[in-house]
Symmetry: C2
Subunit: 197 residues, 2 copies
């Protein structure tokens, strides 16, 4: 993807960048409007650029609307094996663009997010203030991290079972395990976390 952009002419690069700055990930407006926004005097100028960019798959069409190929956007996933090398080399090792919203299935109707308070899960790498992504489901497997309702109280813990039955385990030695007095149900299962530092 990066290299496809390389062999554009400078004017084509500028054009593409202007599209990005003006319209981002939204659908592109009419050629007439692009003409005005990018200060051309004929919408055919726009058309000619579009032809090139469509050929190179930098502009894609959905539902008769044109979009900038979103692979151009987004954070660049650098190869995980980058443990040695030079900073200059790094940009060559870009694997692909990624979206955290996709990884965490944020746009699924069954996905809920809540903010963690407390340090009962720090040993699982879940800290106070983290966003926890929960997939709503009444079923969980043993050892899943779940958002559970235990005795009418919500809590995020690891789902466990022993001879005495199901219980919830904090991932922090300072906290005791929780056994339900009268009820334990699963709101959903943790499928990911996000932390803003």
């Amino acid at each position: 993807m990066e290299n496809i952009i390389q062999d554009l002419t400078q004017k084509q690069k500028d054009f593409l960048q202007n599209l990005q700055e003006n319209y981002g990930t939204l659908a592109l407006p009419s050629f007439e409007q692009i003409k005005n926004d990018l200060n051309f005097k004929s919408k055919n100028s726009v058309k000619q650029y579009m032809e090139v960019l469509k050929d190179k798959k930098l502009i894609l069409s959905f539902n008769n609307n044109l979009y900038i190929n979103k692979d151009i956007f987004g954070a660049k996933l650098v190869a995980s094996y980058v443990k040695a090398g030079f900073a200059a080399v790094m940009e060559d090792k870009i694997e692909k663009r990624i979206s955290m919203d996709e990884i965490l299935e944020i746009n699924s109707p069954s996905t809920f997010v809540f903010k963690v308070s407390g340090d009962s899960m720090t040993d699982a790498g879940i800290l106070d203030g983290d966003y926890v992504v929960i997939k709503k489901t009444p079923e969980a497997r043993i050892n899943d991290i779940v958002l559970a309702v235990i005795d009418n109280e919500f809590t995020l813990k690891t789902y466990k079972k022993d001879s005495k039955g199901y219980y919830l385990k904090p991932e922090n030695k300072a906290y005791p395990i929780l056994r339900p007095k009268f009820s334990l149900s699963i709101f959903g299962v943790a499928i990911g976390i996000t932390r803003r530092i």
Copy 2:
């Protein structure tokens, strides 16, 4: 937002849901195409629904393209104080829809992501396999978690300084601190992490 949807008629709700399922967050196609996709026989049916939904701000217009109001999409941030309550109550406590890509500034050109390997940062809640979001900048403050190049080798550590100079500190007691033999530079600063469980 939720309540606005409540006082739609059932047919209007169905219509909106069909739009979501067919077009997601993309720009809506022409009324003619929607007519076909949703099996109407006149595009005026589509127009009449659109009028209502635009009035209620459930459909928005950008660049002469129509979009479903994205607040309808996305994960629902549940109030962080949800520590006690009933599952039924939970859906009422939805604060807003959020995007992890926005929180982590994924679409900024200076944002890089890489996958963590190793357990040298577990005490900071950064585990093997996590995605670390790095904002590329040559400057960092003491105690920032940084992606640094130390003696030509990339590593993710906490940026520290003492009387002997700058050094890198793993957040895991099992690892020793790293002092540069001949060079230490900052590739960028960690601004967030994402973990897929």
